[in-house]
Subunit: 354 residues, 2 copies
């Protein structure tokens, strides 16, 4: 079927009448355009009750909807919040954790009368594409989520600071008080590692994808701290950062760990997908989890509780974090007082795999 074909085209282009403007409403109600504007913007106290009703009636009849482009141009705001995502391979949305964060942000953004504008870029593309919502006056503020890790992360952060517009960093805290929403990954990992140590494990491995960004580094740090506190020197060969966070990478890393002369008795994965791969590798070697090998994940994906054995992992309040991020940006935009850094606790879920 051809979009250009007349029948389809006609249907999609509709009745062809242009949408009503404020002027149309004003004419119909017999008032000036400004009076309509006042009503639309909630300044109803500026007009008599009868006028208000007449205008409201006219708006209803004409099905008037304000043109946000025009409003934005004049009022220098768009009522749009940009969610700016950088990531190694544009897989961001395929991760339910990230999707949930975005859903939380979207909820608040919607409630407060804004729209959610998504802009993504691949890590390394340091043109200004990522910031176009801010640069091109399409959004009033932005939530910046840099997942994936490389040196150039700093470039992005410097850039958004320079832009001089309201923003909040998602998932990472800086030493310089930039608005941020973070979860206490460090103590989650610390608690997890401590749990393993209490179970008697001494050879505890930590695996993650090749690129580790701050959120992941914190998990790693929590792991190291727990071991050190227990007087265990975290062995270099037990800390692996390889691959792209696929389960298959988890399997590969687990295999090489288990092939060591002195293999670990527990493996902490920096996320649940990697843990899934560890399960597979362990099964392949006929090992029982948790008896032969303890495994922990991170993030508490849907499947975690349903694996056999169920996966011990850490749950992050991502939805709430998304909400908080949106709240911070909008508060800034509207000059409302509020916390600019929100730190969330995490929940360690001890299940059967460790």
């Amino acid at each position: 079927m051809n979009v250009q074909g007349k029948p389809e085209k006609a249907r999609n282009n509709g009745p062809g009448r242009r949408p009503p403007t404020m002027q149309d409403v004003a004419d119909r109600a017999g008032v000036s355009i400004q009076t309509v504007s006042n009503l639309v913007n909630g300044r109803e106290h500026l007009m008599a009750k009868a006028t208000r009703e007449r205008v409201a009636q006219a708006m209803a009849v004409l099905e008037y909807r304000p043109n946000m482009r025009a409003r934005g141009l004049r009022a220098a705001r768009t009522n749009e919040i940009g969610f700016l995502v950088v990531d190694d391979e544009a897989k961001f949305l395929a991760d339910p954790t990230n999707g949930t964060a975005m859903a939380g942000a979207g909820e608040i953004i919607g409630q407060r009368g804004y729209g959610l504008l998504i802009q993504s870029a691949k890590l390394g593309d340091i043109d200004d594409g990522l910031f176009s919502p801010l640069l091109e006056s399409r959004a009033d503020g932005g939530i910046l989520y840099l997942s994936g890790g490389r040196e150039d992360r700093e470039v992005y952060i410097r850039r958004i600071v320079e832009l001089g517009r309201p923003f909040v960093l998602f998932g990472e805290e800086r030493d310089d008080d930039l608005p941020a929403v973070i979860a206490d990954n460090e103590s989650g990992a610390h608690e997890l590692a401590t749990h393993l140590i209490e179970k008697g494990h001494r050879r505890i491995a930590f695996i993650a994808g090749r690129a580790a960004w701050p959120m992941i580094e914190q998990r790693h740090a929590g792991y190291r701290r727990a071991l050190q506190e227990a007087g265990i020197e975290p062995a270099q060969e037990l800390q692996l950062f390889r691959g792209r966070w696929d389960p298959i990478d988890g399997a590969t890393m687990a295999s090489s760990l288990l092939a060591l002369r002195d293999p670990p008795t527990a493996i902490m994965a920096a996320n649940d997908l990697l843990a899934l791969g560890i399960f597979q590798a362990a099964r392949g070697r006929g090992m029982q989890i948790p008896d032969d090998l303890a495994v922990t994940g991170f993030n508490d994906f849907d499947f975690a509780a349903f694996l056999e054995p169920s996966l011990t992992t850490v749950s992050l309040p991502v939805y709430e974090m998304g909400e908080a991020a949106a709240t911070i940006v909008i508060d800034q935009i509207e000059s409302v007082d509020g916390e600019a850094i929100r730190r969330f606790p995490v929940e360690v879920l001890i299940r059967d795999s460790a």
Copy 2:
């Protein structure tokens, strides 16, 4: 920390200089604003080479970025595509399948110079909130994805048709040639069921969440067709639609199926999450998959290949479908010829669970 605090405020509000306008560029280059506009919009053949360079230079120095609000107002387009999502509980983005579709759409949208605007609504909220990107001139067109099922789906579809703006339906095909992107769920389910029948199964169950939308109904239809073709009358008690698509719902439905006097030897789940629950229920009863019970899923989530046993399921090209949806809408907006209905094949992945 207080956002209103002077230092933070100052940082976030930046240097305070307003962004350069076309007029600024024009002044600096010693040309008229229209000449700048011509260059910005790729009509470089309208000016002398020297002028072009002077203007380009001025744009670079000032770091000029067009104000999309202003362009949108005058040119009656925003270069923004709305992704409108309706769903039972705003969980849409938490589903990696949906996230992947959106990522695919986002990729094309970005490539073609547009932005991606997400608007979601809960099924049943039939105000115009969902369509606000279109109604308020914030987007030039929309991708409409109605997941979750209820009678009022029709209302949404009628509404978007009425709006008379370019749109495409995601995941469902209508008898009336509306632009759409769909996957061949019916034949995927048919192939899956046929596979089970060939393996000797006769008592084959089908389970899904309470609300079944067209995509799910197609899976159900494929199941029924396969059974009928094999001369098996699909028993009513083997077709369950309960709960909210959580693994726990899958476990519950599987338990009640397995408690039947004549229990099924195979269960087809309408998605992988439900299948995960079936695995759990089967384990709870000491049953071996696939020997005591064959299980199939749908969607091929990340975890499917890594379960024990690995899950037989159907993979949909969701990323490509997202790309196709974006392509269709943008083609319509730009009056480019192209297919308005794109149908994608699915891939049945026979693994170990069935």
